[in-house]
């Protein structure tokens, strides 16, 4: 196994394949790199394989093809070492009915060398988690906050968060983001966040990776992608129902002679090409948002 230099990528996945059955492939050659210090949002449809990917990263799945490296280690073979270095909030965490938040900390503490009870208390206070509350009595959001505290208390170098904010109210969400951003400001900490909420993603992530049909269909820094992605408003000279845009543009909407095209690559040359098309009367770029980008990456035309 190749140990990565810690300053390059926290996570490196190459051609990862996984299938539940032979006819049901979930991951079909996923390539993903998570640079140190970045917060990457993992997006995708329901059932796209985000949780499966998370399980592979935490040593819960063997991967017959491809390589996975988390903080320079193979998570399947060095599961314990990997889990000690990361903070993981799973989509569903169940604890015994009798267990209080503090008892959960007591259970976790011996297994994480970097665990600091003072840090756990500080985070709990900041996020509004009562250490003496029974875990089972907490609301869904309360459980998520308690799990987040448990995942952060040993100051992990990498955070894996699988739908961590779905049950949080607005205030709790704000507190969580503040805590997360504070933690991530420290040197060398990274996070991979699986979420469906683009608002959350825009708030805390600087990169996105879109998982679609078993592959990463879009990956990069959000700002850079926004700049690179283009939607073009086109007006045709006359009624030309058979007119089709040149590749890689696709028609998003068509109303008579007015069309809206979108493309994810090479937008400037496409605009030049359309400007010289005799059938095109006028062409101009239209501003785009993150939702359009993700929708396009998921193979669907985003609503205008």
């Amino acid at each position: 196994m190749t140990h990565l230099t810690p300053t390059t990528n926290s996570i490196e996945i190459r051609r990862l394949h996984w299938h539940f059955k032979k006819k049901q492939p979930v991951l079909r050659g996923v390539d993903l790199a998570l640079p140190v210090g970045s917060v990457t949002a993992l997006l995708g449809k329901n059932g796209a394989g985000k949780t499966t990917l998370m399980r592979a990263l935490t040593g819960g799945l063997p991967f017959p093809r491809g390589t996975v490296s988390v903080l320079g280690r193979d998570p399947w073979r060095e599961r314990v070492a990997v889990l000690r270095s990361i903070g993981h909030v799973a989509d569903q965490t169940e604890l015994p009915r009798w267990m209080k938040v503090r008892e959960h900390w007591d259970l976790l503490a011996p297994f994480y060398p970097g665990w600091e009870m003072s840090e756990a208390r500080r985070l709990a206070e900041r996020l509004g988690v009562d250490p003496d509350a029974r875990y089972h009595d907490l609301s869904r959001g309360g459980k998520e906050l308690a799990c987040l505290v448990a995942a952060l208390a040993h100051k992990p170098k990498l955070l894996l968060l699988d739908e961590p904010f779905s049950g949080l109210d607005v205030l709790a969400r704000r507190r969580v983001f503040d805590a997360l951003l504070e933690l991530l400001r420290e040197d060398g900490r990274s996070a991979l966040l699986a979420s469906h909420s683009l608002a959350d993603v825009e708030r805390c992530a600087d990169r996105i990776a879109v998982l679609h049909e078993g592959r990463i269909s879009l990956c990069g820094e959000i700002e850079e992608l926004r700049r690179g992605a283009t939607r073009l408003a086109v007006e045709l000279e006359g009624d030309s129902p058979s007119w089709t845009p040149p590749l890689p543009a696709k028609v998003e909407r068509r109303e008579g002679r007015e069309l809206v095209l979108y493309t994810l690559r090479d937008a400037e040359s496409l605009q030049d090409q359309l400007a010289h098309d005799p059938a095109v009367k006028h062409v101009e770029p239209v501003e785009r948002d993150l939702e359009d980008l993700v929708a396009a990456a998921l193979g669907e035309v985003a609503p205008s």
């Binding site: 040593g59 819960g60 063997p62 314990v80 889990l83 569903q92 259970l107 011996p110």
Partner: protein, 584 residues
């Protein structure tokens, strides 16, 4: 250490309610039992011997399965799987907790067990309480580890407990229920080698390893096939080498080689035509992996092995049927006595479904010329029915016992005539149909079933010994009565005294030679044994052998044998020939 401590604490908190409730339930049961008195004394004994141990076993099994199934059902197991802890450590904590809890539970019940034992036995402590026996601890441990292992696969407590109990119980049943084959032999070897405590210990070890492997499966399928495969692998890892090692030398060791000094001649029976001699050989084996033959040694853990060899005197060759355990079939059953040979010189043997004596047995008829089995009725078919139907040498009568009424009915099968007797009565049947010899209060009578008439043959001042007390000669002309230390031979038709053998002289075998009654021996001391031929006039002719066993071979020869040697000779000792001799 801290890691193990927190995991143990988690297990304790998970199972605390169950442990306390189980202990409370046992205490409540015991207090209830203590309050029962008088006629329920037996019930209290039953309670101490059975109910408390079974409660402990159930507690151990349920605790073990619950420790796994509870986490699996509540999905806490998934959370534990994401903990930065080796799976082995989590598993060890569960096993250690179950072990400690079961030990504490039983120890807590031990004083109560003693109190109950004292109460049920009137203040006498036998010192043999079930809860203190190693077998109980071993079986409880095996049940708990099996429950743990199956819970790792099934993820549910109740099915895992049931499957564990069935699995542990099924092995002896399989061994007993299988038809004789290599597998059943192999199972018997396995079961015979190990003591119950060792077997339970082996089960503990194998299921513990299996449970560890099943628990360590990180990527499990919904049906649990991967965990099942892991469990089987773990169990096999421990069990297969043990079993293979145990049975390694079994086949070679069990089959007695010709001339083996550890094998002894138990019985020799010449066929009616004197062409064949069936010899039953026996050997005691030390029940361990070496299976050493142990002649003459009394060992606690030994197994008896018997084989039947057949000598064809026409060509002098020895044959063995196969390597299975067999013995010559000598019937002495409710007045019916017969040897192993039938009129067509076929040999009746009892075979066993294991390499040792003591397993389920059945009848086989052997063709001595080829040493092959010509008839082997399935197990469960009465040997006597088979003998009657197949050999034609069965009794002309059948008996029906009514144990509740202490009655026995002798039925003349051909004519359907019944005679009711007390089942304590000593009787013998004549080869002549319809004739019985019965001991009545006034003496020995001859009963003719056709007419129902009885003739007093002789009166004796003693009780006739059961079993071999009455013996009718093969031709039905004479009857030997043993009692009071003497043997009296009477004419079976009129009760005339033919010969009275004094004390120390025994009729060993009837003779088929006209004019000769049989073979008798006299034993003045252990080393001074003399053999005589007894004729109808009571004259005894000394035979030229001093071996401990002697039978007639045809009309003019004698077959004499001891543990390691068989020889034949003429009655006067001439033409002596050694048929078998163990290697020195």
């Amino acid at each position: 250490m801290n890691q193990l401590r927190v995991l143990l604490y988690k297990e304790w908190r998970d199972q605390r309610t169950f442990c306390i409730a189980a202990l409370g339930a046992c205490l409540l049961l015991s207090l209830t039992a203590l309050r029962i008195d008088g006629a329920a004394l037996m019930k209290r004994s039953f309670f101490v011997d059975s109910v408390l141990p079974v409660c402990c076993m159930i507690f151990a099994a349920v605790l073990a399965t619950e420790s796994i199934a509870r986490d699996a059902q509540s999905r806490v197991a998934d959370t534990l799987a994401r903990l930065a802890a080796p799976r082995t450590l989590v598993w060890s904590a569960k096993v250690l907790f179950v072990l400690l809890a079961v030990v504490v539970f039983i120890l807590a019940l031990l004083p109560l067990d003693y109190c109950l034992t004292l109460a049920s036995s009137g203040g006498v402590l036998s010192g043999d309480q079930v809860l203190a026996r190693p077998q109980f601890w071993a079986v409880t441990g095996a049940l708990a580890t099996a429950g743990l292992a199956f819970a790792c696969v099934l993820r549910r407590a109740l099915p895992a407990t049931i499957v564990a109990a069935l699995t542990l119980a099924v092995l002896p049943f399989v061994a007993g229920g299988l038809p004789p084959c290599r597998l059943s032999d192999w199972l018997y070897v396995f079961l015979a080698i190990w003591s119950p405590v060792e077997l339970a210990g082996l089960a503990c070890a194998s299921f513990a390893v299996g449970a560890l492997l099943a628990f360590s499966v990180r990527h499990a399928d919904p049906l649990g096939w991967r965990r099942a495969v892991a469990l089987c692998t773990g169990v096999s890892l421990v069990l297969l080498p043990s079993v293979a090692g145990s049975a390694r030398r079994a086949w070679a060791a069990f089959d007695m080689p010709f001339g083996d000094p550890a094998a002894r001649v138990c019985l020799a029976a010449p066929s009616p035509d004197a062409r064949f001699v069936a010899v039953q050989m026996g050997q005691d084996l030390k029940a361990d992996s070496t299976w050493t033959g142990t002649p003459g040694q009394e060992l606690r853990r030994r197994r008896q092995r018997r084989e039947v060899w057949i000598l064809d005197r026409s060509c002098g060759t020895w044959n063995e049927i196969d390597t299975r355990d067999r013995e010559l079939l000598l019937c002495s059953y409710r007045g019916f006595v017969r040897g192993p040979w039938d009129a067509r010189s076929r040999l009746s043997v009892r075979f066993y479904s294991s390499p040792f004596v003591g397993a389920a047995g059945g009848l086989q008829l052997i063709d001595p010329a080829t040493s092959t089995v010509v008839l082997a009725p399935p197990l469960g078919i009465s040997m006597f029915d088979t003998l009657e139907a197949e050999t034609g040498l069965g009794a002309w009568y059948t008996t029906i016992g009514y144990s509740r009424q202490s009655k026995l009915i002798v039925r003349w099968k051909e004519r359907g005539i019944d005679l009711e007797l007390s089942d304590r009565v000593v009787f013998a049947a004549s080869p002549e149909p319809g004739i019985l010899f019965i001991q009545r209060e006034n003496g020995l009578v001859r009963h003719e079933m056709a007419s129902g008439s009885e003739t007093l043959l002789h009166t004796f001042p003693f009780e006739i010994r059961k079993g071999q007390g009455l013996r009718v000669s093969p031709d039905g002309r004479h009857i030997a009565v043993l009692g009071g230390g003497i043997t009296t031979i009477l004419d079976s038709s009129d009760g005339r005294l033919v010969v009275e053998l004094p004390q120390g002289v025994w009729l060993v075998d009837w003779s088929r030679v006209p004019g000769r009654l049989g073979l008798v021996d006299t034993m003045s001391s252990r080393r001074e044994l003399s053999w005589f031929a007894l004729d109808e006039k009571g004259v005894r002719t000394l035979l030229a052998t001093d071996m401990p066993n002697c039978v007639a071979l045809g009309t003019d020869r004698l077959l004499a044998y001891d543990d390691h040697r068989i020889e034949c000779m003429k009655l006067d000792g001439s033409e002596r020939e050694t048929l078998y001799e163990a290697k020195p």
